[in-house]
């Protein structure tokens, strides 16, 4: 009567075997490694790069444990940190600035495990050490900037169209244009409506003045805010690349925040410095007259473009990046080629008009300056005089490139200022301590429970302990599989889940004892015990699950790690304490029809 059908045994066996396989990588530990990531779009992580890395290491007589190639990078694993650091210096020197060479830790698990995506648990910053920043984007500043440039554009539009107005002023989120008469206003309104699709207009008469009130449409406001977040994300990503961090996390959180996590980074000062840096953009003329020599002639400077070609550029600046309001990828209206559309503000438009009128046929270079070093983003030919502040760059560009260039044009600087509103830094020694502590307390707690259960419930106690062990195995396997972030509270969660999971087995064992005391045969008692206890186990686990889910929804950072473990632990404990322990009981007692005594203390 206490027999499982074969498929159930198989299911349990397969689950446990899978659990074991996915838990395995956690036992191999990690080796110091270097990771080489190409920085530019036209450089790929390929076998050629792998070969280069291998050769460079061989030349320096460094022998890595393994070199591997994945989608984005080449990794080399070493025995000790000394050779890791040496390799980093050598590779950085050999590969130059087009590649980031980052220090990393790689799992030492055998290749076949990595091939089936069995990776060790993903440790949070409090366990591996590193920096966590939460940055708040100043959205008001982003909107202010947009309105400010809109109002100056309105002024120049009205002036160009010879429409008489007596003033344009901005107050908070509203721009007011004053006209002398109703006729001018209606003419102005028509003109402005055509040009500024993101604004909404309304008329008002006040003290003999004819006012036109404009505000940003809600959808335009939303677009500006979203664009600001995107732009800041891209900028941050570019900057973090420079820090040489192996696995940075840069994510949007909520409507106006960005999380930056830099595992392993100790130098927080430098990190903050780089994240907060301002980059500038300059437009200058290319000097094509002079042939390329070793030294740049007087009045010119040499810059490299993104593909590494050198360009001679005049020193005088036509335009700076502040004058660029927006840059979007798109298509040329006549040739349908991919293009980048740039909007300049009114001052920029006027300057640009003059500059282009005088330099038709020449090339201009758009240069991004960061850390005092310039890089040419693009260098198009000026075909004609460009007025109105709408600039289009097209020709020999793929859609991908158009997107990149427009991102870079925008991403040179931050769209809106950001402020660090939360910082958590954990040193590597504390991280290592946290792991040992978490591990020790779980170990000791588990042993104490195991001894007690076996003494108190004898055979059934032993079965419960095995089930608890299966629970731990499955929980670790699940955490490894999902690559959920394991934090110190998460480790506490593992310990706590184990302490709580034993509840199910205690419930079952107590029930069986009670049924036995009522004089039922052992087989019937086992059956009834599991049956009766299951309802209670389900109810009590669901209530805990409710708490876990709420914690997950509202918790942040480390708390979330705890919640994930709690929820997963409840699921695995249901499986192991009910199914696994029952299967064991069935295997031990289920086959004996005339069972007279069970060992339950």
């Amino acid at each position: 009567m206490n027999q499982y059908p074969l498929w159930k045994y198989l299911l349990i066996f397969v689950t446990l075997a899978l659990g074991l396989v996915y838990t395995l990588p956690n036992f191999y530990g990690e080796s110091p490694a270097v990771q080489v990531l190409p920085l530019r779009a036209n450089l790929k992580a390929d076998t050629a790069l792998l070969q280069r890395v291998e050769n460079a290491l061989k030349a320096a007589s460094l022998s890595p444990q393994a070199t591997t190639l994945d989608a984005t990078s080449v990794k080399a694993r070493f025995n000790d940190t000394d050779s890791q650091l040496k390799a980093k210096d050598i590779l950085q020197a050999q590969l130059g600035e087009d590649y980031v060479v980052a220090l990393n830790l790689l799992p030492r698990s055998p290749q076949w495990l990595t091939d089936i995506n069995a990776l060790p648990m993903y440790l949070g910053l409090d366990l591996r050490g590193g920096v966590h920043f939460l940055l708040q984007i100043d959205m008001k500043a982003a909107l202010d900037k947009a309105l400010e440039s809109a109002s100056s554009d309105m002024r120049s539009t009205l002036r160009e169209q010879n429409i008489a107005y007596s003033g344009v002023s901005r107050e908070g989120k509203q721009v007011t244009v004053k006209f002398r008469d109703a006729e001018a206003r209606s003419k102005g309104e028509d003109e402005l409506k055509q040009r500024f699709s993101g604004l909404s207009f309304s008329e008002r008469d006040e003290g003999g003045e004819y006012l036109l009130l404009t505000t940003l449409k809600p959808e335009e406001e939303k677009r500006i805010q979203e664009a600001a977040v995107q732009q800041n994300l891209v900028t941050l990503r570019n900057r973090v690349n420079e820090l040489g961090v192996a696995e940075p996390v840069i994510q949007q959180q909520g409507a106006d925040r960005i999380v930056v996590q830099l595992p392993g980074v100790q130098d927080t000062a430098r990190a903050k410095d780089i994240l907060g840096r301002t980059a500038t953009l300059e437009v200058r003329l290319v000097d094509d007259q002079v042939s390329m020599g070793a030294a740049a002639p007087f009045g010119t400077e040499m810059f490299k473009d993104r593909d590494g070609f050198a360009l001679l550029v005049k020193k005088s600046v036509l335009l700076t990046g502040e004058r660029i309001d927006d840059a979007q990828p798109g298509f040329d209206s006549s040739s349908n080629e991919p293009a980048v559309h740039i909007n300049l503000d009114s001052i920029g438009a006027r300057k640009f008009k003059e500059a282009t009128r005088e330099n038709v046929g020449k090339r201009m270079a758009i240069i991004l300056f960061e850390k005092g070093k310039g890089e040419v983003i693009t260098a198009p030919v000026i075909r004609e005089e460009i007025g109105g502040g709408r600039v289009q760059i097209s020709g020999q560009m793929s859609t991908e490139e158009a997107k990149d260039v427009s991102l870079l044009l925008r991403a040179g600087a931050l769209a809106a200022p950001m402020e660090i509103v939360e910082e958590r830094t954990v040193g590597p020694s504390l991280g290592a301590d946290n792991i040992t502590r978490g591990f020790h307390s779980t170990q000791i707690g588990f042993t104490a429970i195991a001894i007690f259960m076996i003494v108190y419930y004898l055979m059934f106690g032993g079965i419960s302990v095995l089930a608890l062990g299966a629970n731990l195995l499955l929980l670790v396997a699940l955490l490894s599989m999902l690559q959920a972030t394991l934090t110190l509270p998460g480790m506490a969660g593992i310990a706590l889940t184990l302490g709580m999971a034993i509840d199910s087995n205690v419930l079952i064992n107590e029930r069986i004892r009670e049924e036995l005391r009522n004089g039922i045969t052992p087989q019937a008692a086992i059956h009834a015990g599991y049956d009766q206890a299951f309802r209670t186990i389900l109810d009590s686990n669901i209530t805990t699950l409710i708490a876990g889910i709420a914690l997950f929804m509202f918790g942040s950072g480390p708390i979330r790690g705890f919640a994930v473990v709690l929820c997963l632990g409840i699921l695995t404990s249901m499986f192991s304490s009910v199914l696994v322990s029952r299967a064991l009981v069935n295997l031990i007692y289920g086959r004996k029809p005339r069972l007279t005594k069970v060992s339950i203390g």
Partner: protein, 309 residues
């Protein structure tokens, strides 16, 4: 081995008056301390900076305080953390200084006096984030309470949901009362522990309630009080053993988990102790008080019978 071989049911319900009085007194005391002393909220909630530094030799706290005052941080607190070589510095939020820059400034200053200083941990929480964490914490507490009450209502009866939630909020308030009385630091991880206790101690009530429901079906002639007494007595062994096991884990964390987990484990310990008490001696008397009857459970069967032709 068996600890609890109880022949007769213990008449818990007849002690109802005393236990309710005890609960009420502890509860009111907890509320009193919360009202007068408040919680010693950690940086997570108030905003501010916490820095942990490690010295190669035992650190002189007075010197450290002097060094901090030297850079204008007079309101900074410096204390030992775990060992005499570890120093924890807390700086409350100030209007004009950027918290993000503070940690470097402090590290530089300490390094000038002792080059062996190693930065172990920095936490900076801005005022807005702190406020949100408080709001989210309160929201989570509310949601957990409602969710659990709702589930128990569905699964049992509304009286059970109400009784369990009152019993468990009683636990939560008492944990908070302890933190208020001893002025232990209330951090995010303590909040997590409190919420976990909420889920965990409902567990306890559910087990008893389950028995009560079962007894209503089995013990057709018994009084309500007898039914509850029997349910509690029968589950007592399991209650003590389960909590004992969980407490073994928590004790291991309390002793070996280090400073970071200390208060987390402490909150769990108080929560576990009181949840044993409350599920037995608070939830059940409330259930009686709400007038739970056999009809609450037998009704569905009758309607089923009537529905038959």
């Amino acid at each position: 081995m068996e600890f609890f071989r109880i022949k007769h049911d213990i008449p818990f319900m007849s002690y109802g008056r005393y236990t309710t009085a005890i609960s009420l007194v502890t509860f009111l005391l907890a509320v009193f301390f919360l009202a007068t002393r408040g919680l010693n909220l950690g940086v997570d909630f108030t905003g501010g900076s916490v820095m942990e530094f490690h010295y190669a030799q035992p650190a002189d706290l007075n010197q450290v305080r002097g060094q901090l005052a030297g850079i204008g941080l007079k309101d900074a607190q410096a204390q030992n953390f775990g060992s005499s070589r570890d120093v924890l510095i807390q700086v409350p939020l100030k209007q004009n200084t950027s918290g993000a820059k503070l940690s470097e400034q402090v590290l530089d200053t300490l390094r000038q006096h002792d080059a062996s200083v190693e930065m172990r941990r920095v936490e900076f929480v801005g005022p807005q984030v702190g406020k949100e964490l408080v709001e989210n914490g309160a929201m989570a507490l509310l949601l957990v309470s409602l969710g659990i009450a709702g589930y128990l209502w569905l699964r049992f009866e509304w009286k059970f949901g109400v009784a369990a939630i009152i019993a468990n909020l009683h636990d939560v308030v008492i944990i908070l009362g302890f933190f208020s009385f001893f002025q232990w630091e209330f951090s995010l991880s303590v909040l997590a522990a409190v919420l976990a206790v909420l889920g965990y101690s409902v567990n306890e009530s559910v087990v008893v309630f389950d028995r009560i429901r079962e007894n209503f079906r089995k013990m057709r002639k018994a009084e309500v009080a007898e039914i509850i007494d029997n349910a509690i007595t029968r589950t007592m062994s399991r209650t003590i053993i389960t909590h004992g096991c969980t407490q073994m884990m928590v004790t291991a964390m309390l002793l070996l988990g280090g400073e970071t987990l200390h208060y987390f484990a402490l909150a769990l310990t108080i929560g576990i102790l009181f949840s044993i008490y409350s599920s037995v001696l608070v939830a059940s008397p409330i259930l009686m008080l709400l007038g739970v009857t056999r009809e609450d459970f037998i009704k569905p069967e009758k309607t089923a019978e009537q529905a038959l032709p």
